[in-house]
């Protein structure tokens, strides 16, 4: 089990909609959520779940720090200036920068952080996982296939043909 991981808001919201969402804690003891992402969470349903996770010690809200902001801004500028890459927003860039600076995994379904992490030397310390990566870490073979189907049905997140092929999942 990995101890900590930094999560993006959209990733967390989607993951909380998955019927097996609690299984993420088989991989990570604790999820870190940057405070800059908190204004994005407003509904009572999700806030209630977040508060419960904080109470159980499974989620920690990260304070904002200048040194992370500086790195986040550089990533933000690079990604958003590259045609062909999905946009990255400030909170997500902050989460990626925090993860990189502290050698932690970063959880997001946006492709851009993964692309940046492969090529920017200051991001080499970060491993970016998307939902399919986590499902692959959690399940094998037929159970993986079932979990992928359930995840797609619960969250309307779909995985590209190439990714499913790489994961050995045939739907």
């Amino acid at each position: 089990m990995m101890a900590l991981a930094v999560a993006d808001t959209c990733f967390l919201i989607n993951w909380l909609s998955f019927r097996r969402w609690e299984e993420i804690f088989r991989l990570f003891f604790r999820i870190l959520l940057p405070s800059i992402m908190l204004p994005e969470l407003r509904s009572q349903r999700v806030r209630g779940k977040i508060e419960e996770l904080v109470y159980r010690g499974r989620l920690v809200i990260l304070p904002r720090a200048d040194y992370v902001d500086r790195e986040a801004l550089r990533i933000f500028n690079l990604v958003n200036s590259t045609p062909g890459l999905p946009r990255i927003d400030e909170p997500e860039a902050y989460g990626l920068a925090y993860a990189a600076l502290h050698g932690l995994p970063f959880l997001t379904d946006n492709a851009s952080p993964k692309v940046a992490a492969r090529s920017v030397s200051s991001l080499r310390g970060v491993v970016v996982y998307d939902s399919l990566d986590l499902l692959m870490l959690l399940y094998r073979r037929s159970e993986l296939r079932a979990a992928v189907e359930e995840f797609m049905s619960d969250t309307s997140v779909m995985f590209s043909r190439e990714r499913l092929r790489e994961a050995g999942v045939e739907l």
Partner: protein, 98 residues
């Protein structure tokens, strides 16, 4: 100026040490995989649900079908990303992970 030169210049400007070749290759691969996602969103969306939503949600969901970018639509419409994510799931607008 070529794309390679542009990215190299930008990385230098930002003080980032970047493997430009691998970056551009990964960007190209990513763009290729994302090419058909708009059509996929249009095909998969529950249009009856979208049309049934009050404004500004209805317009926001249509914008989401076109762009696939929850946070951009949130910034444009003022609807929180979390509300949009939940509405996206209800409206069966797929988010493609590549």
């Amino acid at each position: 100026m070529s794309r390679r030169e542009e990215v190299t210049r930008l990385a230098k400007l930002l003080g980032l040490e970047l493997d430009v070749e691998s970056y551009l290759k990964a960007v190209e691969e990513c763009a290729k995989r994302l090419e058909e996602t708009r059509e996929l969103r249009r095909r998969s969306a529950d249009w009856a649900y979208i049309e049934s939503r009050p404004e500004p949600l209805k317009t926001a969901l249509k914008l989401l079908v076109e762009t696939g970018d929850v946070k951009l639509v949130s910034a444009v419409t003022g609807i929180p990303p979390e509300t949009l994510e939940c509405e996206r799931i209800e409206a069966r607008i797929p988010r493609l992970v590549v």
